[in-house]
Amino acid sequence: MMDRSPKPPEALMRAIAHDIRPVRPSPQPFRLALRMVPLALLVSSVIVLAIGPRHDLGILGPLLAWGASAAQFVLAIMLVWIAARESTPAGRLPKQVVYSATIAASLVVVFVTLLTFSTSPANEPLLRVPPRINEMLRVSPWIMGFACGIGSTLAGGVLVLLFRQMFRNSLATRPTVAGALYGAGAGLAINAGWRIACPVSTPWHALGAHGAAIVATVILGALIGRFLGNRKLQIGGKHP
């Protein structure tokens, strides 16, 4: 039913007329998620190149080393796609799909961690650094955990900020959920690269340090989403 109505109120027209510059339409959610791929690949590759690949890649084999990382990377992009759908007013996915994807992503991380440990239970921090540092890391494994946790959180944080820029037009009903989803995508994409570089595969390290970093990026994304969402949709907010 589309009946004609009176003209828009004067104040609204003034605000619109004040800022009627042409804009470029956003891509659809799937294309938006694909646009994240080069960014996420770049940050992940920089990590692998900076730290160097782990010494037991031969034992893990290409499937468990690169294949598992590729699977995590695909899941990360899928989470970003779900976040993009969640940010489209009429394009939201059912809640069950959103929660199932999140649980599936968590289970994949745990499964890959345990499989990696069972195949190569490496707990020696063999990095391409002077032996003295490797010895120090071996004596105090928490330093390695701390370094991995902080490092992946920072890298994930950079990616969350880049994603946020791409999601600047987000119109999510639940901006915290949308933010948490692209935060999870960022964390998972970083983990996909980081696990190729990190020489320690013990579950407490992989889940405690790397897992904590993923959780941190989820929280960061959720906070950014919530803050920007609340600021955006407030009556009497900043008008153009």
Partner: protein
């Protein structure tokens, strides 16, 4: 895709290209229906005019977020829903939203329900339905959205949207029927009393 939808998409594209006239036309076509939807969501609160203005302002701020592949009406209705929910969340102390007016929100009587009761009875019946059922029922029967579109707006499956709308319609029918039965019973007992008095 209907002719109306094609025209709306073309208008949105012109609006994104910087046409003020296109915005006015979009407003003219969508504002009345969006107002009624917001009125339903806000329980007829006086804040509806502000919410409507905010919806179109938000549409303007985020016009780049629209992709010409989307149908315009579900997109704008979804946006209106966001505006309502976000503002309710952001301003819990904002009592006006929670102050439903005495008179019920205005919307056309559903064609399927027209023969079941008067406009006022139907409005009251819809107001008594669980909110999720009432919303799905109105989005489908009053504003003509497909269940897939409703699903995208509400974040549920199309099957769930269909179930909510049909449960709502069944409950509405039941409520109106029982209202009629109680009214007939009251009428009958009144007539019986009159006859008794006349007999005495």
């Amino acid at each position: 895709m209907s002719e109306g939808d094609r025209e709306l998409r073309a208008l949105m594209v012109r609006y994104q290209a910087g046409s003020l006239e296109a915005f006015e036309e979009i407003y003219a076509r969508l504002a009345p229906a969006v107002r009624r939807y917001l009125s339903h969501l806000a329980g007829g609160s006086e804040i509806v005019a502000d919410l409507l203005q905010e919806t179109f302002l938000q549409m303007h701020r985020s016009r780049a977020a629209y992709n010409p592949k989307y149908a315009v009406r579900p997109w704008v209705f979804g946006l209106a829903r966001n505006v309502f929910l976000m503002n309710r969340r952001a301003a819990r102390q904002w009592a006006k939203v929670y102050e439903p007016r005495e008179d019920l929100p205005e919307f056309a009587v559903l064609p399927e329900a027209e023969r079941l009761g008067s406009q006022d009875q139907i409005r009251r019946g819809i107001a008594d339905l669980p909110p999720d059922q009432a919303e799905a029922l109105l989005l489908h029967h009053e504003w003509g959205f497909r269940f897939e579109e409703i699903a995208g707006m509400l974040g549920i499956t199309a099957a769930a949207a269909r179930a909510r709308a049909s449960r709502g319609m069944a409950d509405l029918r039941l409520a109106l029927n029982s209202l009629h039965s109680s009214q007939s019973a009251a009428r009958e007992s009144f007539v019986r009393k009159l006859l008794k008095r006349a007999g005495a």
